[in-house]
């Protein structure tokens, strides 16, 4: 009787259930195959082809493209990583206190502040970046504010400093590395603040009291308790900032000069203007590989897998 029950109904139901998860997965899987796996393979394949746009390309496993790409454009590659790294550090320095304030100190204004953090997204990325031209440009908002505060000397001092360390012409802020990193920092700040906020908001502040009770000064309580517990948010925020910032070129185009060219700009011009598809594809593959390598090393170093 019980045997009959056990072997009767269930198998049919189990068989029906078995394919349901796959059916639900199928659309996403299809999407990934068509719009991620295939393009990536095609990109890698493109980077190993020879030929030109007019006569077509043939896969010749031409690794020389990679050698050419790296030997010609390594400065732009390194610059991209440095700018993205700097922007990540700055967004973290600005974003952490901001996220802490919103999470624990803003009271009933919490939601308003969160909307304000996201508000820039309501404007186009391009427009927002263009706005920085009017802020940083000579005679722009920053300069007029500084002159109103009688701090023009400070601004000019900073400009001269940029000139001295070879990061500008000595008499302007716009079209310098400073402007590009500022733009990157501004544009990616929400990507840092939101994951940080989500993490910091869940922190149990009673742990700070416990640390303080156990002889930890506020600095030590932060370093030994709060910071380690913030790491998942920090890692998420830095990845969301660093990865897109490394490939970004809008900030460099609009706020930079020929001295600030980033790898994204090179790829863009190789693809769309020079029409050297293999070179552009090779640079893309290299950028992707470098970022994946850095991210893996970073995540391992941050030890986030240990966190519950």
């Amino acid at each position: 009787m019980s045997e009959a029950l056990a072997t009767g109904g269930p198998p049919a139901r189990r068989a029906r259930r078995n394919w349901v998860p796959y059916a639900l997965l199928a659309p996403g899987l299809l999407w990934l195959i068509v719009f991620f796996a295939v393009p990536t393979l095609s990109l890698v394949s493109q980077s190993l082809q020879t030929g030109d746009v007019y006569n077509g390309y043939v896969l010749t496993w031409n690794v020389q493209t990679y050698v050419d790409a790296l030997s010609t454009y390594w400065p732009q590659m390194v610059r991209s990583l440095v700018y993205a790294g700097l922007a990540t550090v700055f967004t973290l320095l600005l974003g952490y206190p901001l996220a802490w304030f919103i999470a624990h100190r803003s009271g009933r204004f919490k939601n308003v502040l969160l909307v304000l953090v996201v508000a820039p997204f309501f404007t186009s990325f391009l427009i927002r970046t263009l706005a920085w031209q009017t802020i940083l440009g000579n005679g722009g908002l920053l300069e007029s504010t500084m002159s109103w505060l009688h701090l023009t000397w400070l601004l000019h001092g900073f400009e001269s400093f940029l000139g001295l360390v070879n990061l500008g012409t000595g008499n302007q802020l716009l079209y310098t590395p400073f402007a590009v990193v500022s733009g990157l920092t501004y544009n990616f700040l929400p990507f840092m603040v939101l994951p940080l906020y989500a993490n910091i908001e869940r922190l149990d502040l009673r742990l700070v009291e416990a640390a303080s009770d156990l002889y930890a000064t506020p600095f030590h309580a932060f370093r030994r308790v709060i910071w380690p517990l913030s790491l998942p948010g920090v890692v998420a925020g830095t990845l969301l900032t660093f990865i897109p910032a490394a490939g970004d070129y809008i900030n460099s185009v609009l706020l930079g000069s020929t001295q600030t060219v980033m790898i994204g700009q090179v790829i863009d011009s190789q693809f769309l203007r020079v029409l050297n598809y293999p070179l552009a594809a090779a640079l893309s593959v290299v950028l992707m590989a470098v970022i994946i390598g850095l991210v893996m090393a970073y995540v391992r170093r941050a030890g986030t897998e240990e966190l519950v």
Binding site: R206, E209, A210, D213, L214, A216, V225, L229, V308
Partner: protein, 370 residues
């Protein structure tokens, strides 16, 4: 140990006011070194605020706190040799158990932290969990880790903020015994905050009963129970029958007579009578009352309710003037009386306590456990 210890903890006229209310109102008390002291009271009575001021997590609005001769009032929590076992345990989730316990030692750069932390863990019988993380332990185990984390620093005063509140009854009893054993082993001053009167009575040498930011009575558990100083204490610690009466005549042979509303004369110990008061509450604990007429003081009544609890039966007996008294009869095999039975309630003179009738008879009675 007692000779060269840190000294007694003294709170002098300590007041803590928040924006809209006064949580702690002019408290002065001395807690002798090495004692197990309990702050007992309903929620919102100011007991946790008092504890937090001793820990340094709150600043008193007025008054001072001394440990021995040292004024610690203005010291930050990390500058005080005081540790707390928090109600929420507040274990660091990213550190394993041994690192949690060693946190204070390492903060103070104690080179011997590894051995001391392991010893403290062994003391609470959790030595084998050193490499685990807090979420992997049960509530009772986490509570013991929190205790070890505080104990290991050998603080001048160890504060326990309702640490057993989250545990189930059986575990709670077990931990009470455990805590007391550990306290007598290490000989530190323990201050235990609780709203559970039974817990305070079983564990503490001295209890301060707090109500609305003030100390109602400070005494050992026996005195609190047998000689409560106010109706609040009488009702908050166990049950009390409070009978209104008037002092009649002068005491003779150490005994005095009081007369109830109904004209019954009751004999009470003269030493229990507060001086200069005529209108009194005569308080008798339910287990001191007996059904049957062999006690010196006798009142007649009718049984209105009887509930059997196993070890005892609790009766409600209505007196002629509509006052109901609670009588707890040990289950000594004498059988259960039916509802409606006419009975005599009696007790011996001297088993009562007497309070001023101007106090509210219901104070402290309606407070539920959280």
């Amino acid at each position: 140990m007692a000779d060269h210890g840190p000294g007694d903890l003294r709170l002098t006229e300590v007041t803590k006011s928040f924006e809209r209310f006064t949580a702690v109102d002019d408290i002065s008390l001395t807690i002798p070194q090495g004692s197990f002291f309990a702050l007992l009271g309903p929620s919102g009575c100011g007991k946790t605020t008092t504890l937090r001021m001793v820990a340094g997590l709150e600043q008193p609005t007025r008054g001072s706190i001394h440990i021995g001769d040292v004024d610690v009032t203005a010291l930050k929590p990390y500058q005080r040799n005081v540790n707390t076992v928090f109600q929420s345990y507040a274990l660091f989730p990213h550190l394993n158990i041994i690192d949690n316990v060693a946190f204070g030692l390492r903060q103070r750069k104690d080179a011997d932290w590894k051995r001391k932390a392991q010893e403290a863990l062994d003391l609470v019988e959790l030595g084998h969990t050193a490499r685990k993380r807090p979420p992997q332990l049960s509530g009772g185990m986490q509570q013991r880790v929190a205790l070890a984390r505080a104990l290991v620093n050998r603080p001048d005063v160890l504060l326990l903020d309702e640490p057993l509140g989250a545990l189930d009854l059986k575990l709670r009893r077990q931990m009470q015994i455990e805590l007391k054993r550990i306290q007598s082993e290490v000989g530190l001053t323990f201050i235990h905050v609780t709203h559970d009167q039974e817990e305070a009575m079983t564990m503490a040498d001295t209890i301060a009963v707090m109500n609305a930011g003030r100390i109602e009575q400070l005494a050992d558990p026996t005195t609190l129970y047998e000689k409560p100083a106010s109706t609040f204490v009488a009702n908050f610690l166990g049950q009390s029958n409070l009978l209104p009466a008037q002092v009649a005549g002068d005491p003779t042979d150490g005994l005095a007579t009081v007369r109830t509303q109904d004209g019954d004369d009751l004999v009470v110990a003269a030493e229990h009578l507060p001086a200069g008061i005529r209108e009194v509450w005569v308080g008798v604990r339910p287990e001191k009352l007996r059904l049957g007429g062999d006690g010196r003081n006798q009142l007649r009544g009718v049984v209105t309710d009887a509930s059997f609890t196993g070890v005892a039966t609790q009766y409600l007996v209505r007196l002629p003037w509509d006052k109901e008294v609670v009588v707890v009869q040990q289950n000594d095999g004498s059988g259960k009386l039916p509802v409606g039975e006419n009975v005599t309630v009696s007790w011996e003179a001297g088993q009562e306590f007497i309070l001023d009738q101007r106090q509210d008879a219901d104070a402290g009675a309606e407070i539920d456990d959280e």
